[in-house]
Point group: C2
C-alpha cells in the first residue's frame, strides 16, 4: 500500500547553493535540495525582483492597454502597463512609476487588487496588481529602447479578446477577470 503523503512531506529543504549565475541579465540560482524521503535533487530558478501591474481606468469600464513586442515569443502582445520593481522600491511606487513612464498618467487613487505568481516552477517572481483611478495625463517617459503603443478598450472589448484567445498574457488576463468582478460589485477592494 502506498504511504499517504502529509503536507510536511511536500517540503523541500536546501542542502547547498551550487551556483549563482548571471549569464547577462537573468539571474539564476541552482540549489541542491533534500526531499522528505531523504533523496537529493536539484532545483534551478530565476531570481526576480518582482513586478507591479496597473489597471488604468480611463473611465468606468474603459481601460488603457499597451501593445508591446515580446522577443521571447516574437509577437506583439496587448498588455496592461507593468514593470519590474526597482531595488528597495515599494510595489505601489513601481505601479505609479510604470503608469507614468509607460503611458503618461498620474492617478488620484491606486487600490491594491491582488498578487500573483506567474512562474512557480522556475522563478520566484510575484506580480502585484493595482487599480488606478482618477487619471490625469502628465506625459510619458518610456525607458530607452522600450517601444509601446497605447490602446484604449472597454472591458467588454477586452473580455471578448480574452475569450477569443487574443489576450493571452497571464497578468493582463487575470487583471481583467478581477476588474470584471470588481466593476460588477461581486468582489470588493479597499
Amino acid at each position: 500500500m502506498k504511504k499517504k503523503i502529509a503536507e510536511k512531506d511536500l517540503i523541500e529543504k536546501k542542502i547547498a547553493t551550487l551556483s549563482m549565475q548571471n549569464p547577462r541579465y537573468l539571474k539564476l540560482q541552482t540549489d541542491e535540495i533534500q526531499l522528505s524521503n531523504s533523496q537529493k535533487a536539484i532545483r534551478e530558478f530565476v531570481l526576480h525582483p518582482g513586478a507591479a501591474l496597473v489597471i488604468p481606468e480611463i473611465k468606468k469600464g474603459e481601460l488603457l492597454f499597451v501593445k508591446q513586442f515580446r522577443y521571447p515569443l516574437k509577437k506583439i502582445f496587448l498588455e496592461l502597463p507593468a514593470g519590474k520593481i526597482d531595488k528597495g522600491e515599494k510595489p505601489l511606487l513601481t505601479a505609479k512609476r510604470e503608469l507614468q513612464e509607460e503611458v503618461g498618467y498620474r492617478a488620484k487613487t491606486m487600490k491594491y487588487v491582488t498578487s500573483i505568481h506567474p512562474v512557480i516552477g522556475y522563478s520566484d517572481e510575484v506580480i502585484h496588481i493595482y487599480l488606478a483611478q482618477g487619471l490625469t495625463y502628465v506625459g510619458d517617459s518610456p525607458d530607452e529602447g522600450e517601444f509601446l503603443i497605447p490602446q484604449i478598450l472597454t472591458l467588454k472589448q477586452a473580455m471578448e479578446k480574452v475569450k477569443r484567445h487574443k489576450i493571452t498574457d497571464v497578468k493582463t488576463q487575470i487583471a481583467l477577470f478581477w476588474y470584471e468582478k470588481i466593476v460588477r460589485g461581486l468582489w470588493s477592494i479597499k
Copy 2:
C-alpha cells in the same frame, strides 16, 4: 514633437545568438537584437517546451486540485494538475498523461479551453488548458521525487480562495476564471 510609433516599430529583429546556456536544467538563449530605431540590445530568455494544464471535473462544479511545494517560492501551492510537454508530444496527450500520472484519472472527454503565456518577458513558455470530464480512477504514477497531495474543491470554494489571495498560481487562477464562465454558460468550448 515625439514621433508616433507604428506597429512595425515595435518589432525587434535578431542580429545574432550570443549564447545558449543550459546551466543544469534551464535552457537560456541570449540574442543580440536590433530595435526599429536601429539601436542594438540584448534579449535573454528561458527556452521552454510548453506545458499542459488539466481542469479535472469530478462532477459539475467540483474540481480536483493538487498541493505541491514550489521550491523557488518555498511554499506549498494549491494548483490544478499540469506538466511539461515531452519532446514531440501533442499538448492534448500531455494533458491526458499528467491527469493520470499526477492524480490517477482517465477522462472520457478532454476539451480545449485556451492557451496562455505566463512569462512573456523572459520565457517562451505557453500553457495549453484542457477541461477533463467523465473521470475514472485508474491509479496515479507520479514522477520520482514528485510529491503531491490531491484535494477536491467546489468551484465556489476555489473562487473564494482566489478572492482571498490563497490561490495565486496564474495558470490555476486563469483556469478557474474560464471554468466559471463555461459552467455559467457564458463562454462555450467545443
